[in-house]
Symmetry: C2
Subunit: 552 residues, 2 copies
């Protein structure tokens, strides 16, 4: 309260501010005006706009001052970076807050892992908020370390930095009125829930919204976006590395107004962020596509704060956090200066990474027999679709040219369970690719032409306590260690990027024909995206939502 009293005294003009930004054009997100005025900061908060003096002053004449960007929905784990390194990456791009769904960590390390992650982020200069992972496992066909129950969600929802329920991915369950899904929404704090409703339309969408789920980041088309807004569903426009929807959807900002639209990145590769920016890149592209800068900025700041009920973020006004960007222009959206809680972001230490989060890979001994497929003429094969996470469900001759074998090896409890299948269209000619990143249960997925290489790749992944590996004729061609839960690196951004690129290059050297080999492989295990997927339990026909045999 002494702090608050001082902030009020600074606002009154009775005490000097810590820092005054002099003479900039300050965006009022509430009125969409640019106000030419000073901005005074005290103890990390905005004290006031107007003429102020402070211990320090920065001349920002001719510059644009806007609130820090807020990512409305993302998964930290997609970056492969520990959150402190993620913060070092995105803060210079102006992202000062992110709302994370930690469901990858949740699948591997259980609720303890999520609590650890929340604690890990608590002292970072980036504000990381969390949504409680609502679908662990993603479906009954997946084997995480442990399924989440309502008590797990409750333990998370009680925490200050947990805002609600993360994306309700079991949309068929919600729409069908499955009691296990509805019970989550009835939890204290479950009335704020993010959605995930790919392709859901008409009365199915009404049913999803009737359950009380009022956001979705899976809209692809103007039509889908419009329908969501009309149904009272916040449109979280996504620009993920594998799912870029911004160009398609931004015309809705002008057509129907920005008031219920926010930006999110969902799943982003680290090199993608480095090359393209983060939320600031979305603002840049939106403005380049004709969106008014003020609207694009509101969609990137105030709106995600409003959707998530973050009352003191997303605006430059007294009583708001001094999360603030100084922009040289309204085209590049690359900030000259980023203030988080009123401070320049300097160096900051890595919080402790305990040993237990680095010991998550436990498999039963694996032999060639475990990779042996039944002898049959016609087999199911997962048909890759270039640059998409959806697949085709194919039935092909077992001796079809270019089929690769795929296996998912349970790695949480060393059960020895292995699911087997084939993949069509990878381009792979030899060797094997293995990864402990395999959505959402993150068992070990391994794809290969040679069983021996597949075994070698799995063995190396286990030695690393998790990671991604490319093996060529028994030799490790490239690797990216991901020891934290088998998902996150302890290396720097540059090392993670170069290791990831080396792995992708190695995969391409082995014949892989698409752009993102390991990301593609990681999604082949996700049993809730059509059409044919594979888990440690076997092949999953996602449309029928049942396990199906390899042989036809």
């Amino acid at each position: 309260m002494a702090d608050l009293a001082r902030r009020i005294a600074v606002a009154r003009g009775d005490e000097p501010a810590d820092l005054v930004l002099k003479g900039g054009r300050v965006l009022s997100v509430f009125t969409r005006e640019w106000l030419e005025t000073d901005l005074a900061i005290a103890d990390g908060w905005i004290a006031g706009l107007g003429e102020y003096d402070g211990a320090e002053a920065i001349d920002v004449r001719g510059r644009y001052l806007v609130p820090g960007f807020i990512d409305a929905h993302m998964h930290l784990e997609s970056t492969k970076l520990l959150p402190d390194e993620f913060a070092r990456l995105v803060l210079p791009f102006g992202t000062t807050a992110a709302v994370a769904d930690p469901h990858e960590i949740a699948n591997v390390l259980g609720v303890d892992g999520v609590h650890w992650l929340i604690d890990f982020c608590s002292e970072l200069p980036l504000d990381v908020f969390f949504m409680a992972p609502s679908c662990v496992p993603a479906s009954r066909f997946e084997s995480p370390r442990r399924a989440f129950g309502d008590a797990d969600l409750e333990s998370l929802l009680r925490r200050r930095r947990v805002l609600g329920l993360a994306e309700m991915m079991n949309f068929p369950g919600v729409i069908a009125g499955d009691e296990r899904e509805l019970s989550k929404l009835a939890l204290r704090g479950g009335d704020h829930a993010d959605g995930h409703a790919p392709g859901v339309a008409g009365k199915q969408l009404n049913a999803y919204a009737a359950a009380g789920i009022h956001s979705d980041h899976e809209a692809l088309t103007l039509e889908e976006g419009r329908e969501r807004l009309r149904a009272g569903i916040w449109l979280l426009i996504r620009e993920a590395s594998m799912a870029r929807n911004l160009q398609a959807l931004v015309p809705l900002i002008a057509e129907l107004g920005p008031s219920q639209i926010a930006f999110c990145t969902d799943d982003r590769d680290p090199d993608d962020i480095l090359d393209d920016g983060h939320i600031n890149g979305m603002v840049r592209k939106a403005v380049a596509a004709g969106v008014a800068p003020e609207d694009a900025l509101v969609v990137a700041t105030l709106n995600p704060a409003r959707w998530h009920g973050l009352r003191d973020l997303g605006a430059l006004a007294p009583g708001y956090r001094a999360d603030l960007l100084v922009l040289p222009d309204l085209a590049s959206f690359r900030p000259e200066l980023v203030l988080k809680s009123g401070r320049r972001v300097g160096e900051f230490p890595r919080p402790e990474v305990p040993e237990w989060v680095r010991q998550s890979v436990r498999i039963a001994p694996l032999s060639r027999d475990d990779l042996a497929v039944p002898d049959c003429k016609r087999v199911r094969a997962i048909g890759l679709v270039p640059d998409q996470v959806v697949t085709e469900s194919l039935v092909v001759d077992a001796d079809t040219e270019g089929l690769a074998k795929i296996a998912v090896v349970e790695r949480h409890h060393a059960t020895g369970r292995v699911g087997l299948g084939f993949v069509h269209g990878s381009g792979l000619q030899r060797g094997a690719l293995a990864s402990t990143v395999a959505h959402d249960a993150h068992n070990i997925v391994v794809l290969g032409i040679s069983d021996d290489d597949m075994l070698a790749a799995v063995a190396r992944v286990v030695e690393l306590s998790g990671g991604i590996v490319a093996v060529d004729e028994g030799r490790v061609a490239a690797e990216c260690p991901l020891p934290v839960a088998g998902l996150l690196s302890v290396a720097t951004l540059q090392d993670v990027i170069s290791q990831s690129r080396a792995c992708n290059d190695a995969a391409q050297a082995l014949g892989w024909s698409g752009a993102t080999p390991f990301l593609t492989v990681a999604f082949l295990a996700l049993s809730v995206i059509p059409a044919l997927k594979i888990t440690d339990q076997g092949l999953v026909d996602v449309e029928k939502f049942e396990l199906v045999p390899l042989c036809c």
Copy 2:
């Protein structure tokens, strides 16, 4: 959950709705479009827009369907009606929810009285939400039954229907950084606080906002409204019986966008509502003044819900409460049909009114001596300003023509404390007016020419256990009994209106020259509105914020 499952089944189209409104034009508050479609209702909630069948159907072709109106800030007690009777009055006008600050009851009956009021409202077909009264007493110069402490506020803030802190009327205290005010804002739930900042501007306004208070309903001018919006303060446009700000402020809806503006009534007389409507009357006037109907409707529905975090109110979309109005046109805003939670509002019973809330008037014996003023030549006098709650602080000769005597008699603990003063400009020629409605502590205020009539008026008010009374030459000329806390009637709307009118007529017969005698008198005791006021403790110079003697 069985209910929710059924609502979802109705939304899917797998079960018939309870009620379908067929073929109307449904306002999407999110996109500001009129959607021509059916609207299906199940168990009090909106299941979906689209083609639906139901147990009952109503043809609403050519009609406009809009969400029920929400009053963003009001005091139930101003209507003198028990809340059930208030509900009977405003529901037909389309108000389906109101956010009430019960600080009048709080001053008289303490926190128990507020809990009783919340309970009383819990089963009404009108949604009454509450804000915890933050300023009991309004100042140290007032004597309520008991001052509220933080524990009282906490007991209220824990309740489901209590949304935050009611208007922080001690704005000088907040701006000065008074620890007692800041401690309220630090309570759990105190981060949502309504403001009250009359005339506050510039750095003072920054200081108020810096404290975390982000609404105000006291703006009078475009300039003040603009300044509030730019400072991140929600502009609650008020149209109260004694303070009509709508015409002055509605141009801001077009100028700066409607997104942070809501309507409120603050203090409304019952006959004013009957004549002029409620929130619907504000929408009507706004549209008549040139505001787009869609914008005016958003300001009356979605926006108050957003400001107060009422996630399932204020919109016609699946997952929202079926609080819905059928309008014949976009000019009168007088609904043909009002549905609250999907049901037509029929008759409903009065909840219990316990005896203890009807026994609030306790005074020490009062004699002519108690009304005797010191003998002096020059006296202070409260100068009335026609139709305003502000007064002038005058110093006049004691024998000035037309001075009336005013007394405030402590009535909670029978202390015998009496404050004495004079009023200039009332027009009163003879008799006396007395009332237990005397903001905010609601001690007995009595104004008169004859001491005997003043004593008779007080005696009658005590006999009634509260109310307003006009006495002419020892005889009760008119009265309106207000036995509940001395603030609310147990009579019907029509009786309250006719009794109130009789009292006003009687006051005018005694010479009163303004429009609203008892409302004016009631505000003479409110020690936080300039310039000179009177409480049981004596005359208060509001600008100096100190007690001042009668004689000069």
